[in-house]
Amino acid sequence: MLLELNHIYKWVQSGGQKIFLLKDINLKVEEGEFISIMGPSGSGKSTLLNIIGMLDVFNEGEYNFLEDSVHNLKEKHRSNLYKQYIGFVFQAYHLLDELTVYENLEMPLLYKKYSSSERKALVADMLDKFNIVGKQNLFPSQLSGGQQQLVGIARALISNPKLILADEPTGNLNSKQGEEIMEIFKELNKEGVTIIQVTHSEKNAAYASRTINLLDGRQV
């Protein structure tokens, strides 16, 4: 088992009232799964993803990730945890505009203190794997959306995470580009990477082995 959510609640105070963003979420994810989270806007999909990614906190409940109880961890340990095991893919790609493709890929490795030769090897592997060797010296603004997202996925994968979290990875792409990205996710999942994605599209959700539907913060 990779992670487990038990009775997760999240709310915000607004005018003396609790507004629930998430209500009693229970979820178990095994290694190697491919999960889609679906639901209308405001149903809490992204909030749930952020909680799983430890970027956001919850008010009540338990969250176990591998051997650790996330709800008991201090902020610093929590960030160490996600830095080690989780890779993020964003709808808006969030590549650094000032860095080239190569440098964008290299950055997570810098933070994880890989040696220079290791970095070179890993980046070269990744460029090769995603067929973007020719674009390594371009800046993000010189790439199409699909290519940017490709770099985004490569960057998420480069430090070999156990879990990829993707928040509407195809949201900014046209359908052909979107299909390609989903194919890549499918391939990765086959190689053993656990993936949780948030999506609006039934078609994309179908790539997953399991779908969780949310409505107004509840699982349905």
Binding site: L55, Y82, H94, L95, E98, L110, Y111, S159
Partner: protein, 814 residues
């Protein structure tokens, strides 16, 4: 990692060229001013730091405590040195010396004469015991022991004996003033480090008896104090300065002057530590060519540097936090990819450091330029070579680090605190408290700029007030020239006088001493005894001149007459002295007797008050005494011109020069105009004004750069709002008002805070002046308006550009 940081830092600088330029240039201004001022401070604080036992060396000086205040004399009475030598247990060395100004020195071998050698002293061996010189020839052991011995510095030896080995100079003969034969017995190396011990020629003290200093030595007693007769001492290592001071106090008590005591005067011997000599304005140093160093000037300069540096750093902080939203995405991404807060802080500090280094490079170039511009304000010995000194380099690096932390730390902390989730979800981060800090800082910048503006205007006003205020006598078209005392004979004088009188442009000539207002004064203690009231003891300034003197300077007699002849002393007193004596009407003072130096002097006239010095000081009691009874030989020709201006003034002075040259063939002709002298009274103030002008200019430039940056940022952020408003029908003017309102408010607040601070500051500065200009309200109003106009110009240009943009474009890009 570091490489990555620098890469992204550099690309960021490049992509935001305008902001980078603003940040770098405002920091560069602050830094270059700091460098130059830092060099000045460093220069002045590193004098005489190299002497061995420097903390044991003192100069003994004299302080006269009188009921009117203390007077200071760098000299001591001659017998003090011998008295101290008998007390040698606590002293390692006693070095009495006499400063002297020989007319010329001749090398008898080459028969070459060198005019007015400077830095010449009579000294004995003790001097070389106090100060350790390196002997290039001869030795300390028997230096300056017998009369007619001379020790030269390396520089002088090279000048007097070019191309001669130092050892060959020993035994050579030199003659001072055609009469004093000297034999060179030693050559010492000049001190290479900064020092106030600037002497170049050392004559054995025993020679003084047969020279121009004869009177100073022979007629010396405990009661006379000549500033030429000075004394250095070095305290023995096992003794304390306190004990020596006690000995000095005892000596002062034993040898006090009973006459002085009657007037309530007391003499004190003061031990001036060598380390303090450079800054002690009570007792000068020996180098009269350069201005004395002043700690208070250095402190105010330091403040200017600090303020400008602060202003530069503020631009940095403001623009960096303003740009934060642009950087937010990067921060969020970096954090999710594993960057810690600490790493991000380092990254941003690194970026700041990179910018600071750019600024430093620019500012080192700028400081060379500034050093040129301010050559007049900078001590002559200070050159850009100081940049190479290790202490200075370390200081510069430290300063850069401090600036980096000062201007980079806050933005780095703000930026690194962004929550990645908030950033990535585009929940915008600029919360209210951060913008308000930016506003405080902007207000602070404008307060400083505003204070500088007000101060500049008021100091300028005061100076023009001083220059234009009536001194009480004629100052225009009057000049004086001083005849050399050593070649002056009555015949020559008379010949010159006739020649000058013959020049058509000359109105009147008077032979006298000093002009009515000058840097020199002579004074005497006087007493007036009245039947009814207590006697009036006071110091009375004396002014000497012939019968034309008062006419030339247009000094009006209110009652009585001028002196009749040269044989009796008669006083023409000024109104201030008249009032001090207790007379209301000038006529009442006539015929009264003033006692001075045991003589009875009648008052024969009363003249109108005029200022005897700069208008900084009040009018003092003064008497015009004519030739002073004795048939005095005056040396100064006072000349008033008739109908001269510009072109023919040049003509007239040329004629004067010709007349001079026919009488004094070898002596330089130095004509001093009265209005120039008056200007020179205020040289310090005018320097202050120039420095203030610069400080103000730079402060305004930096603040405006910061303002420009903020305006650019706000307008960019509000592009959409501007677009919408324009679509809804707002006019250009309305948009400009909308965009400028926020900043004009800040300028206004700054003015409200700055005005009282500037008022009290200038009020304090004006306390040194007896004559003050008014702190008029309109000066404050004008300076406020200046600031407002400058700010509006900057905002106007920028807001105009953004408000004229096509709204469709701005709305589409959003």
């Amino acid at each position: 990692m570091i490489k990555n940081y620098f890469k992204i830092a550099f690309r960021n600088l490049w992509n935001n060229k305008l902001f980078s330029l603003i940040k770098i240039s405002s920091l560069a201004i602050g830094l270059s001013v700091s460098f130059v001022i830092g060099l000045m401070v460093y220069y002045d604080f590193t004098f005489d730091k190299f002497h061995p036992d420097k903390e044991h060396i003192y100069r003994v000086t004299t302080e006269f405590v009188t009921p009117e205040g203390s007077f200071y004399n760098p000299g001591v009475s001659v017998p003090l040195a011998d008295a101290l030598k008998q007390n040698s247990a606590s002293l390692a060395a006693v070095a009495p010396f006499l400063t002297t100004y020989p007319l010329h020195i001749k090398n008898t071998a080459t028969n070459k004469t060198f005019k007015s050698p400077d830095y010449v002293i009579y000294a004995d061996k003790g001097f070389f015991n106090v100060f350790k010189y390196k002997w290039l020839a001869g030795s300390k052991e028997n230096a300056l022991e017998s009369p007619n011995q001379l020790v030269l510095s390396e520089k002088r030896a090279k000048k007097y004996f070019p191309n001669t080995a130092f050892t060959d100079i020993i035994g050579a003969h030199m003659v001072y003033n055609d009469t004093i034969n000297m034999q060179v017995t030693g050559v010492v190396a000049n001190f290479t480090e900064r020092t106030d011990i600037v002497f170049e020629e050392f004559i054995s003290l025993k020679t003084a008896h047969q020279s121009d200093m004869t009177s100073a030595v022979l007629s010396s007693n405990w009661n006379g104090t000549n500033s030429a007769s000075q004394l250095f001492i070095k305290i023995a290592k096992n003794s304390s300065a306190k004990n020596v001071q006690l000995t000095l106090n005892k000596l002062a008590k034993e040898h006090k002057d009973p006459n002085e005591e009657e007037f309530g005067n007391e003499r004190k011997f003061y031990m001036q530590p060598l380390q303090e000599m450079h800054f002690d304005t009570n007792y000068y140093t020996f180098d009269f060519d350069s201005e004395p160093a002043s700690k208070s000037v250095l402190v105010s300069l330091g403040c200017i540097a600090l303020f400008l540096l602060l202003l530069g750093s503020i631009n940095f902080i403001n623009l960096n936090t303003a740009q934060a939203t642009q950087r937010a995405k990067e921060i969020g991404v970096r954090k999710t990819l594993g960057g810690s807060k600490k790493q991000l802080i380092y990254q941003f500090l690194g970026e700041t450091f990179l910018l600071t280094i750019c600024a430093a490079i620019v500012s080192i170039a700028l400081s060379f330029w500034l050093l040129n511009i301010f050559a007049n304000y900078i001590p002559t010995g200070l050159s850009s070579e100081l940049f190479a000194e290790p202490t200075v380099i370390v200081f510069i690096i430290l300063l850069l680090l401090v600036v980096t932390v000062l201007s980079g730390f806050y933005p780095a902390v703000v930026l690194s605190h962004f929550k990645p989730i908030a950033v990535l979800k585009n929940q915008i981060v600029a919360s209210n408290d951060k913008t308000s800090l930016r506003k405080y800082l902007t207000v602070f910048q404008f307060i400083i700029a505003q204070i500088f503006i007000i101060a500049t205007l008021l100091v300028g006003k005061q100076i023009s007030f001083l220059l234009q205020k009536d001194m009480g006598f004629k100052t225009k078209a009057i000049a004086s020239v001083r005849a050399p005392w050593y070649t002056m004979t009555p015949e020559k004088q008379q010949r010159l006088l006739t020649k000058i009188e013959a020049i058509p442009e000359v109105n009147k000539v008077s032979l006298a001493e000093y002009p009515p207002a000058s840097f020199s004064t002579s004074a005497t203690n006087t007493s007036y005894f009245d039947e009814n009231n207590a006697p009036v003891h006071t110091e009375l300034q004396l002014l000497y001149g012939d019968k034309n003197y008062l006419d030339i300077y247009g000094i009006e007699l209110l009652a009585g007459r001028k002196q009749n002849n040269d044989s009796i002393t008669e006083y023409v007193i000024n109104q201030t002295y008249m009032r001090m004596l207790g007379f209301k009407k000038p006529e009442d003072a006539l015929g009264k007797i003033i006692k001075a130096d045991g003589e009875q002097n009648p008052i024969v006239g009363v003249m109108k008050d005029f200022n005897q010095r700069s208008l900084k000081t009040a009018i003092k009691p003064l008497a015009f005494v004519g030739t002073g009874g004795a048939n005095r030989k005056f040396k100064t020709f006072h000349i008033s011109f008739a109908n001269v201006n510009g072109e023919n003034l040049k003509h007239a002075t040329d004629k004067l020069k010709n007349a001079w040259n026919t009488v004094y063939t070898n002596e330089p002709f130095e004509l001093i105009f009265m209005d120039d002298t008056i200007k020179r009274f205020y040289s310090q103030e005018r320097k202050t004004a120039v420095l203030l002008n610069w400080a103000t200019g730079l402060a305004i430039v930096i603040s405006c750069l910061g303002l420009l940056g903020l305006v650019v940022y706000t307008t960019e952020r509000r592009t959409k709002e501007i677009g919408i408003r324009k679509v809804l029908g707002a006019s250009l003017l309305e948009l400009n008002v909308l965009l400028s309102k926020e900043f004009l408010g800040l300028v206004l607040i700054a003015f409200i805070i700055a005005a009282p601070i500037a008022y009290f500051g200038i009020d304090y500065w004006l306390q040194d002046f007896a004559n003050k200009t008014k702190l008029s309200w309109w000066v404050f109003a004008i300076s406020g308006v200046i600031m407002l106009i400058v700010a509006m110009l900057i905002m106007g240009v920028r807001t105009y550009i953004s408000s004229t943009q096509n709204p469709v474009k701005s709305l589409r890009t959003e």
